[in-house]
Amino acid sequence: MGREIVDLKNIYFSYNGDPVLEDINLKIMENDFMAIIGPNGGGKTTLIKIILGLIKPLKGYIRIMGEAPEKGRRLIGYLQQHPGLDMRFPISVYDVVLMGRYGGMAHGYTPGDREAVQKALITMGISKLSSRHIGMLSGGQLQRVLIARAIVREPLLLLMDEPLASIDPEMQRSIYELFAKLRKKMAIVFVTHDIGAISIYIEKVACLNRRLFYHGLKEGSLGKLEKAYGCPVEAIAHGVPHRVLKKHFEDPGGQSGNSKMHNRDK
């Protein structure tokens, strides 16, 4: 199974008195490929920021490779949701990715760093864009640049917030293929509100809506996410081979949905 990269225990968070996260427990292991799905406002971005130590939970325990998040987060490659970059900012693709190699104050970039940037650009299929200004990129190209910036650190975990939002399905597929390639080197975890974005490649799924329901490895194929979403949701993806999930543990008869999905995949 490998090493445990992230360990969260009994995390609680609230915003202006409203509970956002309750009793979250999550372990991310080496080489995991996990999607955390949940509705908007379900606490997905909050959870990511807590893992990274960007916000403090009300209570709970967080370790990244045994360290506090502020120290351990250097081992994580992070992709923000719509990072809100100023597209007029005067910087080239190459320099954006190079930034990911930041090694501390008074550490200049080394030839090794530059090599790592070239490798990341090649992995993401954007080496031709290297000297281009970020303002000249399409949405999908920018997303690849930002993923390159996250993986150029050679992190143990690539943690992404809605990496597939605002990307057309064709591009989503090619990004999935990239993830499938990358996961040999690092764990990959992302959050999304889009059930259709869950592809066959994913091995673990958790649902988040204030609480986290963990569906674990290779769980059957189908079900409903109504607990997480608060209303019935059919897990259907268009054109993407997919699997669906069991009901959450509150409902012991979680198999009930099985028959529904099967017709579709056959």
Binding site: R74, Y78, M99
Partner: protein, 283 residues
Amino acid sequence: MMIELFQYTFIRNAIIAAVLVNIACGIVGTFVVVKRIALLSGGISHATFGGIGLGYFLGINPIIAAVPFSMASAFAIGALSKKGKLSEDTAIGIFWAAGMALGIIFINLTPGYAPDLFSYLFGNILTIPITDLFIMLALDLVVIILVAVFYKELLAISLDEEFSAVIGIPTNVFYIMLLLMVSLSVVLLIRIVGIILVIALLTIPAAICRQFTYNIKSIIISSIITGIILTLGGLFISYMLDMASGATIILLLTLAFILSFGVKKILTLLRIKRHRGTQADRQ
């Protein structure tokens, strides 16, 4: 006529001041423009008027009194807005007005008349004493050293603070440092264009130059040169037409900014035309 001008000490001082000030301004102004903190810089410059008043009150060089005052305002605006207790524009507005008010009260409390008060508000490049040139030189050196040493960090937090935090940059420290550099530049500029016009000289050269390159270092260097040329040009025009130097410099900057838009447009059209041309050649 030009040679005659150079013989006056005050003109020589003005030219040296124009060069020194634009060095710090080109560097800091570039970060102000790309990080979009022009309004914040305006708040710092107006708050600095409190320091000028304090200088009068204590009977010391107002520019020297302005340095700690400006830095304290920059620190307070930055810290308050980063804590999230107060939105940034509110913090800016409060300090903007409170600093001006303090300055006025200090000057009220000072016995006698404040003869050159007007020059702190609107600048007067022709009255710069030699001691202020040394202060400018020292502040230039501080800005140059800080930016040379922490260029990577300043670039990273200007582009993306959240990502910078995750890769291990103490973002708040560098954000405050950037604001402190803004406050030093403001103090430098007060002599030239005055508190009220500082923001233009800080931002317009970088705003002109960023249209023509997307390399930050090129923007910095070209902003310094643009700033020097336009400041000296404004100074010359104001001398010839006998107008207020600070205001003339700012209007010349504004004119150059408008012209640069036209130049950029023409360059873009030419590029499109050339591109079409090469496509036609291929066919």
